[in-house]
Symmetry: C2
Subunit: 458 residues, 2 copies
């Protein structure tokens, strides 16, 4: 069987695959810090060379910041576009690392060997699982089982400023039947996941202004409008007593979870109590009557992410401030329209303003939720393929976070995304001592070989 030879090749090539990953990890491609711009470029070049060694036709594209790397290889159907990013987060605080973040190595831990270093899990290690699967396929059979394009980005950790323009400028090159994205995690170390629901995001900053200067609360308190108080009333009104969000029309486009997904999630045996207990909480705080998993993966939210106003230093100052600010974000699901919600939110706030108060809004990121077409047979095929590799059956999972790339593929290129990744909750993404389990790297590579086989058969 064709797949079996590929898996054998992956197993026999393990040490060399690890060496290749370590070489890529040694390049400190920190995208946010201009001092490392040369290193980011070097990582792009490393990928160009590596893809060329597979026989791909590869290009490095300059952008205003860091380059995009694209590659094309293989023939036949389907045409898959694989996305990963080769830039990494900064390493501060460096003193919390147990080793040089850019001198990666395999370390033994009580949970097994891990590859320790910046970018191991986010996202170089994940990216290379797919590349290694392709390499093994070619080594075993001389060719890939279908047509594959690669898109490697060097700006993911700085908000992907060049991504949308690049997609818009290279539609033909990038459009495929399906995008594969390797930047997510397993449900747990035994249960792989295809992330099929990603929440969208809409951020708003509001600045409530009252008096035209800071006032002494003795001289004016009781007569002058206090913007902090006005802001507190507005923020307090955003949820009702059942945890529902009160912005008019907010729930338009929110649908109940399909029964089969609900059953699958229940089968996962998610430990909501343990999830909250790990951060010092005991009771779900969101919408009443919803499980923690549903609250996080499938329900929209409104969170206050920051608030400030008046005197916030040590001690006390009896100021009645001229303004108060808050940052509020909405996580969106289903077909909720971030623009309509922004408009409704602003109208609601304006409607609550007392006399003499004004509000300024600063709009932050907007992204619609992504709901993948799990009724497309490719999804079920990939799920079965993953289930073959791991101890437990793979799940169609949700994700509370927002991964804008999937939305861009859908919106700009009209192409669905399949998010498969092998990182674990304790990988320490963006933190000191980031790691990627050696098992995740090796079985991740094998997983992709299986998924390629499954999709190509389909």
């Amino acid at each position: 069987m064709a797949l079996e030879q590929v898996l054998q090749r992956i197993d026999s090539d393990r040490d060399a695959a690890l060496e290749r990953l370590l070489a890529l990890l040694r390049i400190p491609s920190i995208s946010t810090d201009p001092a490392f711009a040369g290193d980011v470029d070097r990582a792009a070049d490393w990928l160009v060379d590596d893809l060329r060694s597979l026989g791909a036709s590869v290009e490095k594209h300059a952008t205003p910041r860091h380059p995009m790397v694209t590659g094309q290889i293989g023939e036949g159907a389907p045409h898959l576009l694989f996305y990963g990013h080769y830039d990494v987060q900064p390493v501060d605080p460096l003193n919390l690392w147990t080793r040089d973040p850019f001198d990666p190595a395999v370390e033994d831990t009580p949970n097994g060997p891990v590859i320790r270093g910046r970018g191991t899990s986010d996202d170089k290690g994940q990216l290379m699982t797919f590349v290694e699967a392709c390499r093994a396929w070619i080594a075993a059979h001389g060719a890939l089982p279908c047509r594959i394009s690669f898109l490697f980005e060097g700006e993911e950790e700085i908000g992907s400023p060049s991504l949308v323009p690049f997609m818009e400028g290279h539609r033909e090159m990038l459009t495929a039947d399906l995008a594969l994205i390797c930047d997510t995690g397993m449900f747990d170390p035994e249960t792989p996941a295809i992330t099929t629901m990603l929440r969208g995001l809409m951020g708003e900053e509001l600045i409530i202004r009252g008096p035209d200067r800071d006032l002494h609360s003795g001289m004016y308190g009781g007569a002058a409008r206090n913007p902090i108080q006005v802001l507190a009333k507005i923020l307090a009104a955003l949820h009702d007593e059942t945890g529902r969000i009160t912005v008019p029309g907010f729930y338009d486009g929110v649908t109940e979870l399909p029964e089969e997904i609900r059953a699958q999630w229940e089968a996962l045996g998610f430990d909501g109590e343990g999830y909250l207990g790990a951060v010092g909480l005991s009771e779900p705080a969101g919408e009443a009557g919803r499980s923690v998993l549903e609250q996080i993966w499938a329900r929209p939210t409104c969170e206050i992410n920051g608030i400030s106003g008046g005197y916030t230093g040590e001690g006390f100052k009896t100021v009645l401030p001229a303004e108060a600010r808050a940052k509020v974000s909405f996580r969106l699901v289903g077909t909720q329209d971030p623009h309509a919600i922004r408009k409704s939110f602003r109208a609601m706030v304006e409607g609550m303003l007392p006399p003499d108060c004004t509000v300024e809004f600063i709009g932050h990121s907007t992204g619609t939720a992504s709901v993948m077409p799990t009724d497309d047979p490719a999804f079920e095929a990939a799920r079965k393929a993953l289930s073959d590799e791991w101890p437990r059956e793979a799940a169609f999972a949700g994700s509370g976070g927002s991964i804008p790339i999937a939305g861009h593929f859908e919106r700009i290129l009209g192409m669905p995304s399949m998010l498969i990744g092998f990182s674990r909750e304790d990988d320490g993404l963006h933190s000191p001592n980031e790691k990627y389990d050696l098992e995740a790297f090796q079985k991740g590579t094998r997983s992709w070989a299986r998924v390629l086989a499954a999709l190509s058969q389909g």
Copy 2:
């Protein structure tokens, strides 16, 4: 008539009185900055010498920071204790001053001549109005019309850390029939005021804690308790829709304004619209159905002075923070008990805490309101005396702010205070280009001569 000779002496001694004040103003007695400790001491010595030149028996008392100056002079009844402070605020930002703050001089302005310099109005110029009145009385008659004690403090601008212990250690020396305090203002440039109602103050800082660390709002939003949201609900509940404060028992001890005071205040023709308009507001925001003057002078308040939580920098960060904080202060009137209100406030907050939230309270300053015994004939006598000096009749005024010294005199020494001062709203206390109108200094001195005559006759 005895008073007439004193007033003549004051008028003929004007230039010399101004020179004395300028000499005191030249000493940069900034109490908060240790670099100026020697200057604060020099200002104390200057006052020691000046009081001695009147014939008073004077002492300089060391404290852990800056000295107290006390003096005794005169005989007969009543025994009056005069309080003022000789320390001043820092002068930053120096570049906003039109002259060296410690090179004071008389400058002509469209509203008449002013003495410009740090401390002119707060409080050296005010303090010297009383000293010059005493000097003129002695010059005219060889003696004061009653017994007078002086208490000059060098720590008022740093919160008077030594004042209460000093009072407690010198009860006998300091206790008199009535305290006179010259650290307040006129109602307007034509209308003198005796401040007879001072609001008290109770400050509370509250820290609401939820999860045991900052969380990612994508990963936890919708399931984890958000402390900012909890705080907003609590703060929003502190006032009802009519502006009344909802803390149980809060209004215990709040009485309606006596009819004669209400009539007097109405006669003042206070321009509430103009008062608010000057700071960009148009409508009183406090308790419904109360005038601006009543809201500021005679009603208790609850103000949020500061709030912070989560990410407050530029841009956006989707954090669900571990804690949120606010500083809340209550201005108190009548016989409201700050300790009882603190207790009730804390119980109310604790009662509103949802599961998994804790609150920490940090108690800040407490001071009861002061309501002066205006039915004591001395108050009416002083009011008449002031009315004789100025174009318009003097008022018994309120003050929204809190002047702790009056409360200390009442509580520790069992002595009422009479607050008479001549500063104007545009004096720029604590700000660059502080000034004191030359008229305030000269007519203020004459006013004290009249008040001394009136109280001694009484």
